[in-house]
């Protein structure tokens, strides 16, 4: 046989080429199976979120609705006195917005930048038709605030469509014309405090889940299968029960006329007048979230503990270790992957929780998701909601990436 000739397949093509073709075909087949779902997820999930993130840095409401003024504001240095021409263009734009009934949008947008300017815009727009030149004097006569450079600076900032302003607000800073980023004073910082609180509550929930989940997982892993299968139902039933059912149940249990307080009064631990407030505050959020997320801790822990041979502990004992030492030195290190998987999963899920805090959180049990929902639905400051969401998403994605690195998404198990 001539070795210098390339080996060929039955039809005469070189084997290497044939193999590459076959590989390509099977790659194509595998991809073909995934593509429908991938396209669906990209179109109806990934793209909407990217579009939302874009809103967090881009808001062209002002530039779009104030077309005359926008160019002038862009070239204005932000510190010198606004010229008569700028005032004239402002009046022209106000008139147009009044006619188009869009003045409310402009007013809200500037109000987000400088609180208390909403009525300035709406009321001036109402009178704009009758104003006569010189407009600078006429405007300042109707509202003294129009002479305030701060109003003009706020307009210059909102005029800038691509803006870091909303992210600055999310971090309790202000983006200004002349000084760049300025931190807000301590007592007006709400978002950073909320982020810290979200991290703290998620951390406490994770620790509580670990504290409660570890013994249970250990028991389930060491008991004979016929008992552990039965007990597993107690873990899986809450897991399968509606989130709202469980939250409702916690309201029934923890409210001031609820089961726990009734029991405590009956035992005599507390008086009828001094019932504990266990719900509609941070305590309620932590208790309910711990209950809801506990199965997510128990299941990964259990699946790791199940693989640890019991003979290791016996070997440690026979070599002279006390039960405590054997447990800490031999058993615990082997459960670290489970602790990592469960802990990360619980933390990731807790950090974005919305429903339970909204229903049982009261004032001080609210998380960052609730603030996002507030800006989406109540204050309608969508760009700020998007910026807050962007920061939250960033945190979650970093954790998700870590989860994939450390544990691997393939190893995620349910039930």
């Amino acid at each position: 046989m001539d070795v210098s000739q390339p080996i060929t397949a039955a039809d005469g093509t070189p084997l290497k080429k044939k193999l590459a073709q076959a590989m390509f075909r099977s790659k194509l087949r595998a991809t073909g199976l995934v593509v429908p779902l991938l396209a669906f997820v990209l179109a109806s999930f990934v793209f909407p979120i990217l579009a939302l993130m874009w809103q967090g840095i881009h808001n062209d409401t002002f530039a779009r609705l104030m077309p005359n003024l926008t160019e002038e504001l862009r070239v204005w240095d932000g510190v010198s006195d606004p010229t008569e021409e700028m005032y004239a263009l402002l009046v022209a734009d106000l008139r147009q917005n009044r006619a188009d009934k869009t003045i409310g949008k402009v007013a809200s947008r500037v109000n987000q930048e400088l609180a208390g300017t909403r009525s300035l815009f709406t009321s001036t727009a109402r009178k704009a038709k009758k104003l006569e030149p010189p407009f600078k004097e006429a405007l300042i006569k109707t509202k003294k605030k129009w002479g305030d450079i701060k109003v003009w600076q706020a307009m210059k900032l909102t005029n800038q469509s691509l803006t870091p302003g909303f992210y600055a607000t999310s971090l309790d800073a202000r983006y200004t014309v002349d000084q760049g980023f300025v931190m807000k004073e301590e007592k007006r910082q709400i978002y950073t405090k909320l982020f810290v609180r979200t991290l703290m509550i998620s951390g406490s929930v994770m620790l509580l889940c670990l504290l409660l989940g570890y013994p249970v997982a250990y028991l389930l892993a060491t008991l004979p299968l016929k008992y552990s299968n039965l007990l597993m139902i107690m873990v899986l039933l809450p897991f399968w029960t509606s989130l709202l059912v469980r939250t409702t149940a916690w309201i029934a249990i923890l409210q001031s006329q609820g089961v726990v307080n009734d029991l405590l009064v009956w035992i005599g631990i507390t008086g009828d007048e001094s019932r504990f407030s266990l719900i509609y505050n941070m305590t309620g959020t932590i208790i309910a979230m711990t209950h809801i997320l506990l199965p997510f801790m128990i299941l990964p822990l259990y699946s790791v503990m199940k693989t640890i041979p019991p003979s290791y502990m016996r070997a440690a004992r026979s070599l002279g270790a006390t039960p405590t030492a054997a447990f800490i030195k031999v058993y615990m290190p082997q459960t670290v992957p489970g602790i990592g998987a469960g802990g990360l999963l619980v933390f990731i899920l807790a950090i974005g929780y919305y429903i339970t805090p909204a229903l049982v959180g009261g004032q001080d049990g609210q998380l960052i998701s609730n603030m996002i929902a507030y800006h989406m639905q109540k204050s309608l400051n969508w760009s700020l909601a998007a910026a807050l969401g962007g920061l939250l998403l960033l945190g979650v994605l970093v954790l998700y990436w870590a989860y994939d690195r450390i544990i691997g998404i393939d190893n995620m198990k349910l039930g």
Partner: protein, 304 residues
Amino acid sequence: MAKLPPYTTTGERIWHYAFRFICGLIFLFLILPVLIVLPLSFNVEPYFSFTPGMLSLDPEAFSLRWYKDIFRNGMAAPDAPFDMAWLADTWNNAQWMRAIRNSFFIGICATLLSTALGTLAAIGLSRSEMPYRRLVMSILISPMIVPLVITAAGMFFFYSKIQLSQTYLGVIMAHAVLGTPFVIITVTATLVGFDKSLVRAANSLGAGPIQTFFKVQMPLIIPGVISGGLFAFITSFDEVVAVLFLASPEQRTIPRQMWSGIREQISPTILAVATLLVLLSIILLTVIELLRRRSERLRGITSS
């Protein structure tokens, strides 16, 4: 229970039972909230707490009034005699009945969509030839990880733009996306134990790829597919954030109705619905467990 070996010391014995006791308390913490809604839903009073009458097991203190309320609330003529007209009235007008109908309709449609797409994708992902496997997998699982508020807000803007918000299709699509990660995870787990030589054997015996899929692969992975589908269904059935952002009153689901019930007019009807939902989850859990056992038997893994 296994007997303790004779060499255990007294301290170890005490710890052994103390440990069991602690675990018992934790199990109680897990299961009590699920069970507590059952008796409370039969309360004759419009409260969320046990009345003295209930505690003394007085039959007068229990009633089915909140269960009746599920059918009657919102009806045009709730006190009419029970006949076909009454049934039609409750089916068409009762608030909870509409929520129940919506939940099942949306849930089933979303489940079919996510199970079909998810199963195909899981089969593709389980092949080692799949390029960028890790990246694709992490994108497909991400709907489970991304905070729901962010997902719902993004969908709200996007679906509004393409006229899908406040429609059934919009809610179904949102729920299908949220359900797919569960399908992928369960089906992938089933495929891990799948013997690939069976496919090759089928091919060598002359079966085409479609025939192989339906006759060889599908019967073996069907337990995983069904339990993935059940996961997707319960995800949709339990989902409220996307509904809050995307649905109009016409598409109110059970959780959405419970949400406004808890926020606005807290009434034990919620507890009656909750009890029914607990029963539903018991049924689903049983089905899943039976499927798991069947799958293990099929794949030759005997439980030890």
